[in-house]
Structures are given as C-alpha cells and as structure tokens.
Amino acid sequence: MANEEFPLKKVCIICAKGTIEDVYAALVMSNGAVMEGIETKMFFTFFGLDAITKKTMNSLHTGVVGNPAMRMPGGLPFPTLLGIIPGVETGVSAMMRSQMDKLDIPPVKEFLEMIEAGGGEVYACKLAMDMFKLKKEDLWEGVKEVLTVGQFYEKCGGLQTQIIFT
C-alpha cells in the first residue's frame, strides 16, 4: 500500500489567521506530527503572527460575529447581534479556552513549547512582520528565524513532504 511504502516524513504547516480555532488547528496538527515522529516546520504569517507575538499569544479570540457555526451553551444558535456587545467576544473566547484546558489542550505558549521540545521548528514571515511593524524581540523566544517565503520553501524540500495551509 502506498501509505506504508511512502509514509509522511515532513509537514510544513502555515498559519495565516489569528483566531483561536485557526491557530489551534495549526498547533494540534503540528504537535500531532511531532508526536508521530514526523519532521515539522511551522510558518506564521499575517494575523497568524498573533500566535507567536508575546503580547497576544495567550489571549487569542474567536469570532462571534458572522460565524454561523457559533452556538450558545446548550446548542442554540448564537445571534450575531449578541456578538457586537462589548465584552461578549472576550467572554466567549475565555470560555472556549477553559473548555480546551479541560481536555488537556495547553495554552498557546505551552503548546508551542511542546512542539519545540519534540523537535518542531517555528518560523515567522518577514513580509508580515514588516507590515505589522513587529521586531524579532516582540516574538516568543522559541521562534527560530524570521524568513522570506523563498527561504521557507527551501526548508520544505524533500520527498514525502506536505505543505498544509490551515
């Protein structure tokens, strides 16, 4: 079977959005790869940079406006108009984070540290950093390097490698 003959050897996971669900999709997939012994490289760009910026990384939000999948506790649809009330987004986001903690899903910084401990590598996008006027020292200490797109692609070479855009 092709799966056994050519197992996945490397994943390059790109995170371009800064909501809880987008960032955690990238983190869970990356950590899962590291746990399987798959070489893992993460690339954070645009709003995804929030996940590796010291100031924002542990207080990410989820979108409560224009998100048809959002539900109230109990399962009723979450009215978009409710989402525009100040503080609602913060409250919902805090609730989501506490739910995740119960499942042993760590906060962003700890999750990144787990990925790093397993040999995963974390990179930041130079263009987006310039755009948001961020400096390397604004980022989490574990960020290995600030790269251009070309430099990132150089790291993505090799057989049995996949690039995943979350």
Partner: protein, 103 residues
C-alpha cells in the same frame, strides 16, 4: 486475537503489537518489547511506564502534556527516552493500548 511470545511468555497483542490485556504486563516483558524498539530501559523509563499504566487504569487521557506535568521528566526528556513517536512507543512498552488522544 493475535498472540505473541515474548521472553518465553505468551501474551495477547493486537495486529500492531500493543498488549490487549494490560494485566499480562511485567517489567521483564517491557524490557523485551523495548529492545524490539531499540530502547534500553532505565529507571526513568520504568517510572514513565508506571505513570502511564496508572493513568490508563484510572481511565484518564494519555497525553504528552500529562507526562510533562508528571514530575518524572519534562517533554523534551520524554522525546529523548522514546525517540521518534514517544507516546506510541511508551504505550507499547507499557503494555497498554495505543493512545487515542490527539494531544
């Protein structure tokens, strides 16, 4: 159900080699299973194995994070003990089912 003879003892395993009956596990068997995985068990290995077995017996999730918080070893050290895929390898050596956790 498949069976496998490890160190002269017959144990029940699944097709991937995980014990299907954790009660059949002994420290001696662990040593042999670890050898197959290319690992020489130390006291720290055994402490992690016992920790995982206890957690499994209590029906708790087996996560890398829980090992990191166990006080036995940090996560980096855990990857060092069971190189490659630590959670899967450790579960196999600990004689418990393959972890079904995503974190």
């Amino acid at each position: 159900m498949a069976q496998k003879i490890i160190a002269g003892i017959t144990v029940d395993v699944n097709e991937e080699g995980y014990f299907t009956n954790p009660a059949q596990w002994t420290r001696e068997l662990a040593k042999e299973v670890a050898k197959e995985e290319g690992i020489q068990l130390t006291d720290t290995h055994y402490a992690v194995l016992e920790f995982l077995r206890e957690r499994f017996a209590k029906g708790e999730n087996l996560t890398i994070r829980s090992v990191g918080n166990s006080g036995i070893i940090d996560i980096k050290g855990f990857y060092g003990l069971f190189p490659g895929a630590p959670m899967k390898k450790a579960a196999k050596v600990a004689g418990i089912p393959k972890p079904a956790s995503c974190v």
